[in-house]
Structure formats: structure tokens, C-alpha cells
């Protein structure tokens, strides 16, 4: 109920006729009926599709460049950047998850690429897809499933008995497990949404004429809210995913 309400922030604001210029909510573009429910294609979906297209184009170009690469020649700028990024993700995964977690570098790299592109999309006038609770909850649920799949894989039945370890604390343990995806998704969602709301309020606060004269202020604010905050939050989300998954590997690594 609450999730649905937050996703329809823009719809309610538009219905109340409160904000014409200050728009930072999710705006519905088209509606359609499915199983008797009215569903909306919103601005989040549009920017999500744009972000995905950008990532797919990047992946196709990178794939071509890598296939054409000649080991006897000096690599070009683009190839160098790709290699550096892949090496950085690999070493980050290895240092946080150990040898056993090295296979997760694929997933972590994908997550990193998606989150960085999505968080930076606010710079290009899109509404960041991660400022919609649906996107972040989906990402956090993937992490949740990965945690418990690997928990059962490596700890077998101990993954369940671990919950009852001090018998009195059983409810707290269960709530703690369930709170993990909630807090992860809310952290990303809240940070990006707060940046979007702040920028929307500041843009709505000043008349157009004044905005032209004090553009350095907007540059600094975009630098903080979009670039700094977005990069930190994508780093933190990937870091937490790695730490939580690596917890289930137990002591045998090393």
C-alpha cells in the first residue's frame, strides 16, 4: 500500500494541482488495464529503458573492441579504460569475498554498471530510475535471494538452525534477516530521491531568469547530489551485497 503510494507521488501531486513547475515525482505517461487494475507506464520506466539501451550499446561496442584487440599492439584509450574497470571490479570482489566469491564479480560488475548509469542519469534530465522504490526493491530482493541461496549451499541445514542460536532471540534474528533487503533498498532509494527532491525544490524556488545567472550553484549542487551521492551509494550497495554474500561462505575460506 505504502509502496504503491510512494510510486504514485507524481500522480497525486498532479491530481491535487499543487505543483506545476516543481516536478520530482513519478509521472504517469500511459495507463493500461491488466486484470482489472489500472497500471501506468511512468517516467521511471522510460528512463530505465534509456539506461538499459545505453548499457547495451556500451556492452556491444566494448565487445567489438575487445574482439578486435591485437595483443602485439599498444591498446587504445577505450580498451584501456575497459580493462581498468574490469580489473578494479575483479580485485574489489576478490578482496571482499575471497577466492570462493570470485565468480560473483560478473554480478557485481553488472550491478555497479547499472547503478552508476542509473544514478548519473539525473544529470541528463532524466528522472533517475533508482529514485523509484520498485527498482531498488527489485535489486535488493536479488541480493536477498543470493544470500539465502548461498547460505543453503554452503551452510546446508545450519543456515536455518543459525536463526535459533540463542533461542530467546529467535524473533529478533528473523526480523533482522527480513530487514536486510528493506534497509538496503530504502537506503539507495532515499538517497537518490532526496537528491532529486532537493534539485527539484531548488529549481522550482528560483525564477528562470535568475537560474541563468547563478548556474555555478546548480553545477555544484548537481555535483554533490547526483555525482558524489550517486557514486557513493552505488559503491555502498555493491559493497553490502558482497559483504552479506561473503558471510555465508563460513570460515573454511582462506
Amino acid at each position: 500500500m505504502i509502496i504503491g503510494n510512494v510510486c504514485n507521488v507524481g500522480l497525486l501531486a498532479a491530481a491535487a494541482g499543487t505543483t506545476e513547475e516543481v516536478t520530482f515525482g513519478v509521472d504517469g505517461l500511459w495507463s493500461y488495464e491488466l486484470f482489472g487494475q489500472t497500471l501506468w507506464i511512468t517516467t521511471s520506466h522510460v528512463s530505465l529503458v534509456i539506461v538499459m539501451l545505453v548499457i547495451i550499446a556500451f556492452a556491444v561496442i566494448a565487445n567489438r573492441v575487445i574482439k578486435k584487440a591485437d595483443p602485439n599492439e599498444v591498446p587504445g584509450t577505450f580498451l584501456n579504460i575497459i580493462e581498468m574497470a574490469v580489473e578494479a571490479v575483479d580485485s574489489l570482489t576478490k578482496s571482499n569475498m575471497g577466492e570462493k566469491g570470485y565468480k560473483f564479480s560478473n554480478y557485481i560488475g553488472t550491478l555497479f554498471l547499472f547503478l552508476i548509469t542509473a544514478n548519473l542519469s539525473g544529470l541528463f534530465g532524466l528522472r533517475p530510475p533508482t529514485a523509484d522504490y520498485g527498482t531498488t526493491l527489485g535489486l535488493a530482493l536479488i541480493t536477498f535471494i543470493l544470500i539465502h541461496y548461498n547460505g543453503f549451499k554452503y551452510e546446508k541445514f545450519g543456515h536455518i538452525t543459525k536463526l535459533f542460536q540463542p533461542v530467546l532471540l529467535t524473533p529478533i534474528n528473523i526480523i533482522g534477516e527480513l530487514a536486510t533487503p528493506m534497509s538496503m533498498s530504502l537506503r539507495l532509494f532515499g538517497n537518490i530521491l532526496s537528491g532529486t527532491v532537493m534539485m527539484g525544490l531548488i529549481y522550482g524556488l528560483l525564477p528562470m531568469l535568475l537560474q541563468v545567472f547563478i548556474w555555478p550553484l546548480f553545477g555544484v549542487l548537481h555535483g554533490y547530489f547526483d555525482v558524489f551521492s550517486g557514486l557513493i551509494q552505488s559503491y555502498v550497495f555493491c559493497m553490502l551485497t558482497m559483504v552479506f554474500i561473503a558471510q555465508t561462505f563460513g570460515d573454511e575460506e582462506g
Binding site: V9, L186, F189, S194
Partner: protein, 88 residues
């Protein structure tokens, strides 16, 4: 005084509530400040471990921020997706 509608009363009280719901912002501010101060302290003692200290500090600060963001979520819900208006 008699011309305040029910809806207006709920909207006014929700605006006050949204302001009060942002009080949790104080806690993460203090906590992040302490974490950053201790991080600077640690870099001063051991400049070689700068990268590790930085990532640990950022992780801790991001986790400390969660409670503030819960307050922010409540404030946003009260402002833009008010569940109380539907109860009239």
C-alpha cells in the same frame, strides 16, 4: 475558526508532521561526523592504510544513514502520498 475543513486540518497537521519526521536527520549527522573524524584520525596515524580506512568509513556512514532515511521516507509519504486523506 469555524471555517477550517476536515481536509485542510489533515493537510496542515501532515505538513507539521512531515517537519517533525525529519528530526531523525540529527542522529545520522552526529554519527557520520564522528565516523569521519575517527577516519581522519586513523589516516593521520597510518597514512598507508588510506584506501581501506576510506572504504570502511564510507560503509559505516552509509549504514548509519539508514535511520535518517526512514524519517525522510515518512516525511515524503506525508507530503506527497498522504494516506490519512483517504480515511476521511
Amino acid at each position: 475558526m469555524s471555517n477550517i475543513t476536515n481536509e485542510g486540518l489533515i493537510l496542515a497537521c501532515s505538513a507539521i508532521g512531515a517537519g517533525i519526521a525529519m528530526i531523525p536527520g540529527v542522529g545520522p549527522g552526529i554519527g557520520q561526523g564522528i565516523a569521519a573524524g575517527l577516519g581522519a584520525n586513523a589516516v593521520g596515524r597510518n597514512p598507508g592504510a588510506r584506501g581501506t580506512i576510506m572504504s570502511t568509513m564510507l560503509l559505516g556512514q552509509a549504514v548509519a544513514e539508514t535511520t535518517g532515511l526512514y524519517g525522510f521516507a515518512v516525511a515524503i509519504i506525508l507530503m506527497f502520498a498522504n494516506p490519512l486523506l483517504g480515511k476521511l
